[in-house]
Amino acid sequence: MSLPVTHYLVVSAILFVIGLIGLLTRRNLLLILLSIEIMLNAANLNFIAGSALHGHVEGQVTAFFVMVLAAAEVTIGLTIAVLLFRKQDSVDTREITFLKG
């Protein structure tokens, strides 16, 4: 444990920003979901670094819950992608024009 915790926090922040950029710039719905996975994992790294910093195991438990949440989220997201593909033969977000508010 020689490295200061700031190193891990910086890596986590960089990964989060990369995920955010991917979320905003990608057009394929599936790749947008992948960017969300990057962001969730960046948050997880933050939790685990905090857990090691304070010597509590609670951060790791929270990271575990985030993993479970990500698995559930991926299930629903992929189902929506399948439905979208069935409806209009594409997962390109530019072509989703039938959503009405």
């Binding site: 444990m1 490295l3 190193h7 685990i48 090691a52 910093l53 609670e58 438990v61 990500a70 991926v74």
Partner: protein
């Protein structure tokens, strides 16, 4: 040695996640995300979170990303990505960079002004995490079981064809 491992795996994670958002081919982006997950699990190992490091590989590289791979190979190949420069006006891009630079400057000030104590280290074994999970966090743990069950139901309900 620990520093070397940390820098190697964090650069691996950052580089491959850049590949995920920049690679125009969805399948390759997905495989790069597997590299990111493995590098992150190595970082968890450095932080002493042994159980989560293995869970990361099993859950992400093993289950979630294989699910993704199936769906992408079945139907996600054709959405084409446009380069950033042709999609946005250069003026907008410059403004975006300016805003990000201001935000990044303030974030850096927060980071440099932040002095954390030395890492205490934590027992991240399956035993320790499991004990915390089944004593302090028993209710949330049961709720995640319900969440996963609801996820299964929702996937079946959404994906079922109407006429079937």
């Amino acid at each position: 040695m620990e520093n070397l491992l940390f820098y190697f795996f964090s650069f691996l994670a950052i580089g491959s996640s850049l590949g995920v958002i920049l690679n125009p081919r969805p399948t390759r982006a997905l495989l790069l995300l597997v590299v990111t997950m493995v590098a992150l699990s190595a970082l968890y190992l450095l932080l002493g979170a042994f159980f989560l490091s293995i869970a990361q590989i099993i859950v992400y590289a093993g289950a979630v990303l294989v699910l993704f791979l199936f769906v992408i190979m079945l139907q996600g190949i054709e959405a084409e990505e446009l380069p950033l420069l042709t999609r946005f006006h250069p003026v907008i891009l410059v403004l975006m960079l300016l805003c990000s630079a201001v935000l990044g400057f303030f974030l850096l000030r927060v980071f440099t002004g932040f002095t954390a104590g030395a890492m205490k280290g934590v027992d991240g074994s399956l035993q320790a995490v499991g004990r915390s999970l089944f004593t302090d966090f028993l209710l949330p743990f049961e709720l995640t079981a319900i969440l996963l069950l609801l996820g299964v139901f929702a996937a079946i309900a959404l994906a079922k064809k109407e006429d079937a």
